[in-house]
Amino acid sequence: MDQASMDALYRTYGSMVLRRARTLLGDDHAAQDMVQEVFMKAIRAFPGFRGESSLTTWLYQVTTNHCLNAIRDGARRRRALERRMPAEEPISSSAEDRVGVEELLRQLPRELCEVAIYYYVDQMNQDEIAELLGISERTVRNRLKEFREAARERLGAPEEAAG
């Protein structure tokens, strides 16, 4: 892929990847780094890209996977840091929420997290998620149900009827 193609790819899809990374990671710098990681992967994978899905769809999946990896890795590192340096300042409620959500994404099985991200963050409907992940709508429904139950248990999130 030449420089001009890379620039065009970046211009077209960069803001989309950045927005999703900021939402999922909650940190501007981490999101900026994530954009670079995603595009490096895109550039490496581009020669083998078969066009079976659109680039947008493919980048959605790559970003989701990389962000989930980062959240799981970050939670591990934060715990190690907290063991060595106990926090003296009280944590804000929004930060607590954020930590709670990240813990949820870290603890729950990956396939539940993916479905929840597409459903709640990207506002996809269930058949869209089923198509994206290559699973049945029933499986999507079951995974969402399982995720909601786990979230309610851990975060006290209100129950929401499945669509």
Binding site: Y60, E128, A157, P158
Partner: protein, 260 residues
């Protein structure tokens, strides 16, 4: 631009268009599902999705500075990572190259200073008078001819006992500077010209000139034997010969290349 990570409720109804569909529109892709006409129709009738599409389009221009900043930082990090990652390989390559070149380096690098741990030093300079009358300072690995005349100039930081020998490809050790059967006493001082000139013989090839200065009087035969041992260890290649290693002694050496 920034959304909270909220897993308790959806922002839009399931009948609305997802961010994926809207992002594809912003990127100029044509979504296969729902079909473009249905998308168009929904956007015309749904204020929420229409507003979200506008928001994503605005995002694209607003994100440009952040994307540029990330790209710049990433370029720097990649360079650092490359250097960090490449460092072991570069060091290994440098070490290999050094080992491969060591015989040639020995040949060309000056070995005028070798000393013990007390900071003293010994320097050996060699002046050559060629057959045409031209006089020049011998460079490490410098070319000489049989019949050329050489003189030795020694600089030393301490008084001691000196011998200068030649180790050649025939395995022979020739004493050039001594005091009879004993080493020559030398005072501390710079650029001390040793008496007499040496006319180079017909033995061709490299010859290592070694100045050995010891703080105590020593047996000349011991120095000669040490020279022979080193030549044998180096398969009679004076360019690869190591230091004589006599205790309490400093060494300085230089290789000359004798050819017709």
């Amino acid at each position: 631009m920034r959304a909270e990570l909220n897993f308790s409720k959806r922002l839009r109804d399931e009948s609305c268009l997802s961010d994926l569909v809207l992002d594809r529109l912003v990127a100029g892709e044509s979504p296969a599902r729902p079909d473009p006409a249905a998308v168009e129709q929904h956007l015309g009738s749904c204020a929420v999705c229409s507003a979200r599409l506008d928001e994503l389009r605005r995002d694209r221009s607003l994100a440009a500075p952040m994307l540029a900043a990330g790209r710049r930082r990433h370029t720097v990090l990649r360079r650092r990572r490359f250097l960090l990652a490449a460092a072991p390989a570069l060091l290994a390559a440098a070490a290999t190259l050094l080992l491969l070149l060591m015989p040639r380096l020995r040949e060309h690098l000056p070995e005028r200073i070798k000393g013990g741990g007390n900071g003293a030093a010994l320097l050996l300079d060699v002046a050559v008078r060629h057959a045409d009358g031209k006089v020049e300072a011998l460079q490490p690995g410098g070319r000489v001819r049989p019949g050329d005349m050489v003189r030795f100039i020694v600089s030393t930081a301490r008084p001691g006992h000196l011998v200068i020998m030649g180790l050649d490809t025939a395995g022979k050790v020739t004493v050039y500077v001594a005091d009879g059967e004993a080493p020559r006493a030398i005072d501390r001082g710079a650029r001390q010209v040793m008496p007499g000139s040496i006319v180079l013989d017909a033995t061709l090839g490299a010859e290592r000139l070694v100045a050995l200065e010891c703080d105590l009087r020593f047996n000349l035969a011991d120095a000669v034997d040490a020279g022979r041992r080193q030549l044998d260890r180096a398969s009679r290649d004076p360019r690869r010969t190591g230091p004589l290693g006599l205790p309490g002694c400093f060494e300085a050496a230089m290789v000359m290349d004798k050819r017709e």
